[in-house]
Amino acid sequence: MFEGYTASEIGAIFAMQGFAGLSLFCVFLLMALGLAIIFGQMQVINMAHGEFLTIGAYSTYLMSVVAEKHAPWLMDYYFFLAIALGFVVAFAIGWLVEFSLIRFLYKRPLDTLLATWGLSLIMQQGFRSMFGAREVSPTLPEWLLGSWQLSDTIEIPINGLLVVGVTAVLTLAVFFLLFRSRWGLKVRATTQNRVMAEAAGINTARVDRNTFALGCGIAGVAGAVFTTIASTGPTSGSLYIVDTFLVVVFGGAASLFGTIASAFSIAQAQSILEFFINGSMAKVITLAIVIGILMLRPEGLFASRVRK
């Protein structure tokens, strides 16, 4: 497919294609991070994860409407406030959901699957009643639109850079929170042995609640960032849910590194296959490879170290 092109043209395409793979990796990681925490640390299958993404997206939309009407001077920067708002709202709703629903179902994992799926339907219809059935479009600041002209032929999408940046910051933050803070120690202790953790004086119920809310909050951030590259509507969240579970399960449920590795390999496979074959076939082949590897390694790329 490269006959008749100059070396610099091909080089430019490969550079841009490399960036496309990188930003797809970041999109996957961003959407899976929250679920990886909830699923990995708590073994809760949260089917409403997509809807927490949508909460972040609608927060951004609301923020853009408010900024446009009442504070036009804020338009250039409101997006960072929107990310924060997305986190706060999704965190708060996640906290409430854990308190009123999830905590009664810890001993019945299959029931959480059904309950959170029902929750996702309720939330979708809630968005529809509140914001209307039609998709909305947050007005993005000018600097976020368009591309960065690196050379004559290489153009890097600015919204892609934003996704990469936010993913890096968020992943580092989660890493420090889980592995370098006292709170993270409690979370890991609870995951490894709940009874022992309680015996050591850890309030595991509170740890659960905050862990779940944190996972939801991170989904909210992801949702806010995704408004730059995707749609904002009542069912937008459901566009991500399959890929999200794919990344988390493939990575190995209890491992943050597994999630990162899995997001990276799936994104690269898909992006390269899309370039050389086509969209639908790329998806088929990627899924086939993932299924094949999961048959050989049922625990995912990084085996879980949770005591059974």
Binding site: Q17, L24, A133, R134, L145, S147, E155, G160, S236
Partner: protein
């Protein structure tokens, strides 16, 4: 001001005169309804069957609104054969078996005289056997892939050749386009449409298709595809991406520097409705081929847009399908009046050749034999505010649901 009032009185008088021409007494129920439909001496019941919940609610809400507006206007003019139209609305819930079940309920239990409904081809295919078995009449509003024709369906949107050929002819002539990159969501409508487009490009226009690709519904990352387009540098990007993917597609094109100053993109799947979600600034300057745009400059359309906004709010936007849905009740009314009967068999025959001059898109006529509409195809250029500049209008195009040489 006074002139305004006079006009109102005149309009009212005209409406009375029209209504006077068709009172229920002139059409005894026993004569106009020989098959046991829900027709009484002063009312007739029709069904509305769209998704108001689930993923398709995004698209179908506009159709419901347009159909209710048309029915209200018809009732204000005195109804059909002197009978007020009453509505039973059912929710297809974006689920095709539900559509079939609700269609059966409307036809068998409610005995409705006609149904305005469906949006996706999948939902239409699901209800078609029900309408044929129970002998109902469906007014279907969406532009679609063609390859279908039924005594029990009136297709008020364009079939594929009407929408596609005129658009391709225009872009070949105006932009001198020779190379095309065809892109679609992966299901029947985009695939059938691109098949027709490819045949037309290769056999009629003498151009070349440099790429044809499909992405799963709901796909949100188009980075690799965009790089391939940059590599192949087609004269025209021909896009039939739908649903949530649409938004990702245009946002990512814009971010990758594929904008209308350097590239030509022609789509048949973006209306004013979709632009709400995409944001006009992300698709500014690209072209869409449709039969209707909200910004069409004619008297019918001005009245229609004003009435629509009065009923459903100033923020409403009206896309191609919404307008086509608005035609349904009117075409049904004309067919009933021409037949002098509500009987489905008589309406199915009477519909052939019916002309409707009050359509917002301008004059339309039902084909003499295939139940599709003669209509014009227009090219609109997307503006930043989410509306279109209409820059080209074809002659009336004959509907041709089974195009020879294109399959």
């Amino acid at each position: 001001m006074r002139r305004h009032i006079h006009l109102r009185w005149l309009a009212l008088a005209a409406a009375l005169a029209l209504a006077g021409g068709a009172t229920a007494a002139d059409y005894p129920t026993a004569e106009v309804n020989t098959t046991g439909l829900a027709v009484t001496d002063d009312a007739v019941t029709v069904g509305i069957l769209h998704s108001v919940t689930g993923t398709m609610a995004i698209s179908e809400s506009g159709s419901v609104e347009a159909e209710k507006l048309a029915i209200k206007q018809i009732n204000d003019m005195g109804g059909v054969l002197g009978r007020k139209i009453e509505i039973i609305q059912e929710d297809g819930a974006s689920d095709w078996p539900t559509f079939a079940e609700k269609a059966r309920k409307l036809l068998v239990n409610d005995k409705v005289a006609a149904v305005m409904g469906c949006w996706t081809s999948a939902s239409r295919k699901a209800v078609l056997p029900v309408f044929e078995k129970e002998n109902g009449m469906l007014y279907y509003p969406t532009f679609y892939e063609g390859l279908e024709q039924s005594k029990n369906v009136i297709y008020t949107g364009q079939e594929a050749t009407q929408q596609i050929l005129a658009g391709l002819d225009w872009v070949a002539k105006e932009k001198g386009a020779k190379t095309f990159y065809l892109i679609g969501s992966d299901y029947i409508w985009p695939r059938t449409s691109n098949k027709i487009a490819r045949k037309h490009i290769e056999n009629v226009l003498g151009g070349k298709v440099v790429g044809e690709e499909y992405y799963p519904l709901g796909h949100t990352n188009f980075g690799s595809l965009i790089n391939k387009i940059k590599l192949k540098k087609p004269d025209v990007i021909y896009s039939i991406v739908v649903g949530g993917s649409n938004v990702s597609w245009y946002k990512q094109l814009k971010a990758a520097g594929i904008t209308s100053d350097k590239w030509t993109l022609l789509t048949i799947s973006v209306t004013e409705d979709e632009l709400l979600g995409i944001g006009g600034e992300n698709a500014e300057g690209f072209y869409a081929a449709m039969k209707y745009f909200q910004s069409l400059d004619n008297e019918n359309n001005k009245k229609f847009v004003a009435a629509f906004k009065e009923m459903w709010g100033d923020d409403s936007v009206i896309g191609d399908v919404t307008q086509a849905a608005y035609l349904g009740p009117w075409l049904w009314k004309l067919a009933v009046e021409k037949a002098g009967s509500f009987d489905i068999d008589k309406i199915a025959v009477a519909s052939n050749g019916i002309e409707f001059t009050g359509a917002p898109e301008g004059y339309v006529r039902i084909h003499d034999s295939n139940h599709h509409l003669w209509s014009k195809t227009r090219i609109g250029r997307i503006k930043k505010d989410g509306q279109f500049d209409v820059i080209y209008e074809s002659d009336l195009v004959e509907p041709n649901p089974f195009p020879e040489g294109y399959q």
